[in-house]
């Protein structure tokens, strides 16, 4: 009897249109937990790190964790692991909604996609019945059209993961979308699935996850739900306003990047805030599987359509980063990202970089005259129009579809690309949050805020308040946050539970469900093992540790105004300490003894 895990892996050979079901290696699963960790281990064992992301040798692993699809709170998460065409690093993009839980209930811990189909297909999974079906009629369709069509044929209960036109066209910032509006957003994973000619995966599951100790699980789960309800952030702030509640707080701290990080404070933030969203366009909450937090939003667009609403990161990327303070326009751009299958952070930030390239005279009027759109900061029509063109690789949008790094490189101005390892930075200016900047520089998937969310202690005061300008202890904090996040991502829970829960709580859940005996030390060691394995993959892929850096602007140009005025990021003071606490040498390579300690071959 297998507890927590489904115990099966579905391996799909797209080249030969075959599949087989394999047993999960439980020893390996325990070592790497599941989800992000186990998928990384399997990917590392099976794929050459130097693989071309769009070649048939690259694989895509869609992985649930041992707690995905259980009664644990916010347990709808799954992870997509592959080699990223945007960064050249390992990609592991996480999403909520209902697809992940349904996959688990269909009896699979993960799907491994390998090879390449010679024509568009979708994969239909109905418990142990698996079919690879023709998707010629779906190629070119938007996400909602694809999802509606497949649910029409396979039933309302079917859960659909798919790519939009952006993934089909190998847009390097294309996302995978499930359940209409939840995105495994980052690192261009939608394009890898598109390169394999897979349009969608449809899943229906009727099994139940088995628990080692039913009674204990019931008690632990109700205790954790209570903790989430009683916590101010997960019980009140996020449920009432969604992630958008951050707009004002990040702006009030003067770390809300404006106009491609040229400034970090705006007097107009409230126009695109969670408070304004709740007052003007919110219809209702849009919760994920078994989530007591329910931060997802459902909003009304100006034309009356009701759709998934923008997250904080999106309100920033299309809003302040493009100097646009029009919540209707941002909600529309967000909707288009969901329909075309685009990462909202990278899309908005790439448009912002293009706007700076234009205003500085690199992009000329004649470059974009056929497009009929402006690239001026503050233009609401521009964010909507360019999003579509990026999704379709149309006109100048074809250049932007490569992401901001390659766009700026084309004009000889890479310093205007606000990226780390070619991935666009999210919505916090690290010049005013030193620990968070270290997390940006060292994240294994490039510019990213959810591998060790230092905003939590440095701004929000959870679990305790740290001085955001201080360097003291930050390397240690970043390491622990990164390791614990790897655990949460691998268990299949939402990271937002960590505002209220700590390592001890995750251990209680994991042990009760699986019958294991993890303690604080062994669970964090598993997180550290996952982190180091991702690092080794990247090193072998040819990512130089010198890429653990931030854009020059953030290191050399002090924030010009607002509450964080005068600050730069002090990465060179933080990085050596970080390497040391990680057990890496001074150049950033894991030391042999560290790998032996972590039992990594």
């Amino acid at each position: 009897m297998v507890f927590g895990y489904a115990g099966k892996i579905l391996r799909v050979d797209l080249t030969n249109r075959r599949f087989r079901v394999e047993d999960l290696n439980l020893e390996l699963a325990k070592k790497y937990i599941g989800g992000r960790g186990l998928a990384t281990k399997i990917f590392y064992d099976e794929v050459d790190p130097k693989v071309e992301p769009f070649s048939k040798e690259n694989k895509v692993i869609i992985a649930t964790g041992p707690l995905t699809g259980t009664s644990a709170p916010a347990s709808g998460r799954y992870m997509v692991v592959t080699k990223s065409p945007l960064t050249g690093t390992i990609a592991s993009s996480n999403s909520g909604g209902y697809f992940g839980a349904e996959l688990k209930l269909a009896g699979y811990d993960m799907i491994i996609l390998e090879g390449k189909s010679d024509r568009p297909v979708y994969i239909l999974i109905d418990d142990d019945k698996v079919e690879i079906k023709d998707a010629g009629n779906l190629w070119g369709k938007l996400v909602s059209e694809t999802t509606d069509f497949l649910k029409n044929i396979h039933g309302e209960k079917a859960k659909v993961l798919c790519i939009g036109p952006a993934g089909e066209r190998l847009v390097k910032i294309a996302a995978v979308i499930n359940d209409y509006d939840r995105a495994a957003g980052r690192s261009g994973i939608g394009a890898v699935i598109g390169s394999k000619n897979v349009k969608a995966i449809v899943v229906k599951g009727s099994n139940k996850v088995q628990f080692y100790d039913e009674e204990r699980v019931k008690d632990v789960v109700s205790n954790k739900i209570k903790m989430l309800r009683e916590n101010g952030i997960t019980g009140q702030g996020l449920p009432t306003y969604g992630t958008a509640v951050l707009v004002n707080i990040i702006n009030e701290n003067g770390i809300f990047p404006v106009a491609n990080f040229q400034k970090s404070y705006t007097e107009y933030a409230d126009k695109i805030s969670g408070e304004t969203m709740a007052k003007d366009i919110l219809v209702r909450k849009n919760p994920c599987y078994r989530c007591p937090i329910a931060c997802g939003r459902w909003v009304r667009l100006k034309d009356g359509r009701e759709v998934g609403g923008p997250e904080y990161e999106t309100l920033w990327a299309f809003g302040a980063d493009c100097n646009v303070y029009d919540i209707d326009a941002v909600a529309k751009a967000n909707y288009l990202c969901n329909e075309y299958g685009l990462d909202t952070i990278s899309t908005g930030a790439t448009i912002a970089a293009a706007m700076e390239l234009y205003e500085k005279g690199y992009i000329k009027d004649e470059d974009i005259k056929e497009d009929g759109l402006s690239l001026r900061f503050g233009d609401s029509d521009a964010i909507i129009g360019w999003t579509k063109k990026i999704g379709l690789r149309e006109g100048f949008g074809d250049n932007m579809a490569e992401g901001s790094y390659r766009l700026c490189q084309k004009y000889g101005a890479v310093e205007l690309s606000m990226t780390v390892k070619k991935q666009e930075l999210p919505a916090y200016d690290p010049r005013g949050v030193q620990g968070h900047g270290l997390e940006y520089a060292t994240s294994n998937r490039g510019g990213c805020h959810v591998r060790g969310y230092m905003i939590s202690p440095e701004i929000l005061g959870a679990p305790q308040k740290l001085d955001r300008f201080s360097l003291e202890g930050k390397a240690e904090w970043v390491k622990i946050f990164q390791d614990l996040t790897a655990v949460i991502d691998s268990l299949g829970l939402c990271l937002f539970t960590s505002f209220a829960l700590s390592a001890k709580d995750y251990i209680e859940l994991y042990n009760a469900v699986c019958g294991f005996d993890f303690n604080q030390e062994t669970i964090l060691e598993a997180g550290e093992r996952i982190w180091n394995l991702e690092r080794i993959f990247n090193l072998k892929a040819g990512i130089d540790p010198k890429e653990d850096k931030l854009p020059k602007r953030l290191l050399q140009e002090p924030i010009p105004e607002g509450p964080s005025k005068g600050h730069v990021h002090k990465l060179s003071d933080l990085l050596p300490k970080y390497y040391e606490v990680r057990g890496w040498d001074e150049k950033g390579y894991p030391k042999k003894e560290t790998l032996i300690k972590l039992n990594i071959e």
Binding site: G232, I233, Q236, G237, G242, T243, V245, G254, H449, L460
Partner: protein, 73 residues
């Protein structure tokens, strides 16, 4: 003059911005009492965008931002 900015649920039944006349010794504690905000509901308290304490004495012209527990990402 002290400008006080309120956010999220603290706006319910109150204005977004309230102005207090400055007097020597005015603190955040005085302000939240006047606004009928419970101390427990103050999760983040900024004076001119920098973390402060509600018992810190304010200066004329300070801007105070008050948030209940909020998070996201």
């Amino acid at each position: 003059m002290i400008k006080v900015k309120l956010f999220a649920t603290l706006r319910e039944g109150r204005q977004k911005e309230v102005v207090f006349d400055y007097f020597d010794g005015i603190t955040g504690k005085y302000i939240i009492d006047m606004l009928d905000i419970k101390e427990d509901d103050v999760a983040i308290y900024l004076i001119n965008g920098i973390d402060g304490k509600i018992n810190d004495k304010l200066k004329d012209g300070d801007v105070v931002s008050i948030f209940p527990p909020v998070g996201g990402g």
